[in-house]
């Protein structure tokens, strides 16, 4: 099981577990506030935007070109932005902390 911690805009910290699918789906299943996943994960809606804790950036890795393009003009973009629907839930990201973009 991979553990992932979400920090919502009201500063609640919620740790959830999963082993398949993508991080957006995991967040939606667990009703994480602020992650809607409107487009179902096709990289179109940015309602799954998270800021990765800088210490975890290496683990998570940089976005693909397409994802980076969509983030480039996002209002809430930071150096640690990812669209969580493009992050697979695997052992590689066990323990990471993701701040829901506000």
């Amino acid at each position: 099981m991979t553990k992932i911690t979400f920090v919502t805009s009201d500063d609640n910290s919620i740790t959830v577990e999963g082993n398949t699918g993508n991080v957006m789906e995991l967040a939606v299943q667990n009703k994480i506030k602020g992650i809607d996943g409107n487009c179902g994960g096709v990289c179109s809606c940015a309602t799954c935007h998270v800021h990765v804790e800088p210490k975890d950036w290496e683990k998570v890795g940089a976005p693909s070109t397409m994802e980076a393009d969509m983030l480039e003009f996002d209002e809430k973009v930071s150096d640690y932005s990812r669209l969580s629907c493009q992050m697979k839930v695997t052992d590689a990201i066990d323990g990471v902390v993701l701040k829901v973009a506000k």
Partner: protein, 384 residues
């Protein structure tokens, strides 16, 4: 022969060669921004490309001559835009609730059962308009019977039979809305009007004018777009029975199919912005006070982003389309729209074997030198 459901891309050459296209609109010309990246960039840059211009002006064709009311939050820029949007954001997520979905399934199931009994169905008037109007009662949280009034207005709330903007027609809608707002003031309930009337921005109640601005937008933004998406989907599935089969066997692909159909149809062609300073797009000068058009349709066929952009790839996994807009003003009704398409597809899978197109008349819009097929003026089919 070209399939009846196919929609080609008239912008490719201009997009590749210039990045922009020119069109006139009632002597208020528009420079259409065509590339995916440029469209996103301009949509993002609300300081230079504003929405809060004269009411009606960012709509193409312009509605300045037929309306004074400002649509909210659509014709408002940040930071006020965010204040208004926060008021309605939760309300527009209600389509995700189980009750809402169940009600939609019931509505669409009954409508499909009905058209299955007919020899010929004109999809726009006898299917899509009805489906859209009934579904909208859920978003407004008003009685189902209101949909009968909305259906009686016909397909265009702002346009008469030709393509000309029609002020009288718009007045029918405005008078209706004034009336409904008065009713909700007298008798507050759980409908959208009442919720808005009780809302506050910056520590004060919304004015009637503001309530009206939100309501008008909810009516007009969700009408032609949904009718277009539903009608084009029916045409597509009639010519691609295998696609319907595929979704029947692999329902987990339905979500991808919805996004792809919306990309391919792009029911809203473009939305305007007014430049607040002299600037440029793709080395093309844009003068302060003139209009650009964020051409979602063209962006959604940009080959640098979408492989086989002119084909419907039903299970396209990465699909960063901008059919619902991009950034600040992205579509508030998208949750409702997606839910409608999801329920529609599930219902077709369950109840319909095939759809036969009997005859169809295309609807072509002219944007300067470009002619774009939007969908249909009428399309008769037989549901089997």
């Amino acid at each position: 022969m070209m399939e009846k459901s196919a929609i080609s891309d008239p912008f490719e050459k201009a997009r590749l060669e210039k990045g922009v296209g020119e069109m006139d609109d009632q002597n208020d010309p528009v420079t259409m921004v065509l590339g995916h990246k440029d469209v996103r960039k301009c949509a993002h840059n609300w300081k230079t490309y504003q929405s809060g211009a004269e009411p009606g002006r960012i709509v193409i064709p312009s509605e300045v001559n037929i309306r004074d009311i400002r649509q909210i939050p659509f014709e408002v820029d940040p930071p006020m835009h965010g204040e208004y949007r926060a008021l309605v954001e939760q309300w527009f997520k209600r389509p995700l609730e189980a009750d809402y979905q169940a009600a939609l399934e019931k509505q669409i199931g009954a409508l499909v059962d009905e058209v299955l009994t007919k020899d010929s169905v004109e999809v726009i008037k006898e299917f899509s308009l009805i489906l859209q109007s009934r579904a909208l009662t859920l978003l407004f949280n008003v009685p189902f019977s209101e949909s009968e009034t909305w259906i009686s207005w016909g397909t265009h709330v702002f346009r008469s039979e030709g393509n000309a903007l029609d002020g009288d027609k718009a007045n029918i809608l405005y008078n209706y809305i004034d009336n409904e707002i008065e009713k909700s003031i007298q008798n507050p309930g759980k409908d959208l009007y009442s919720v808005l009337l009780a809302s506050e921005v910056n520590g004060r109640k919304l004015t009637k004018e503001e309530v009206k601005g939100v309501v008008v937008l909810t009516f007009s933004g969700g009408r032609d777009t949904i009718i277009n998406a539903v009608t084009n989907s029916i045409a597509y599935f009639s010519e691609h029975p295998k696609s319907l089969d595929k979704l029947r066997k692999e329902p987990e692909l339905i979500n991808f199919a919805i996004e792809e159909l919306i990309r391919y149809f792009s029911p809203l062609t473009q939305m305007g912005r007014v430049a607040t300073e002299d600037t440029q797009v793709c080395e093309h000068a844009i003068k302060a006070g003139t209009r650009i058009g964020l051409n979602w349709v063209s962006a959604n066929r940009d080959a640098s982003v979408f492989e086989n952009a002119n084909e419907v790839v039903l299970d396209r996994k990465i699909n960063p389309h901008v059919a619902f807009g991009f950034g600040t003003h992205n579509c508030l009704g998208a949750t409702h729209a997606r839910q409608i398409l999801k329920v529609l597809i599930k219902t077709l899978i369950k109840k319909v074997n095939s759809i036969e197109i009997l005859d169809a008349k295309e609807n072509i819009e002219t944007l300067g030198e470009f002619k774009r097929k939007v969908g249909f003026d009428s399309i008769n089919v037989k549901f089997n």
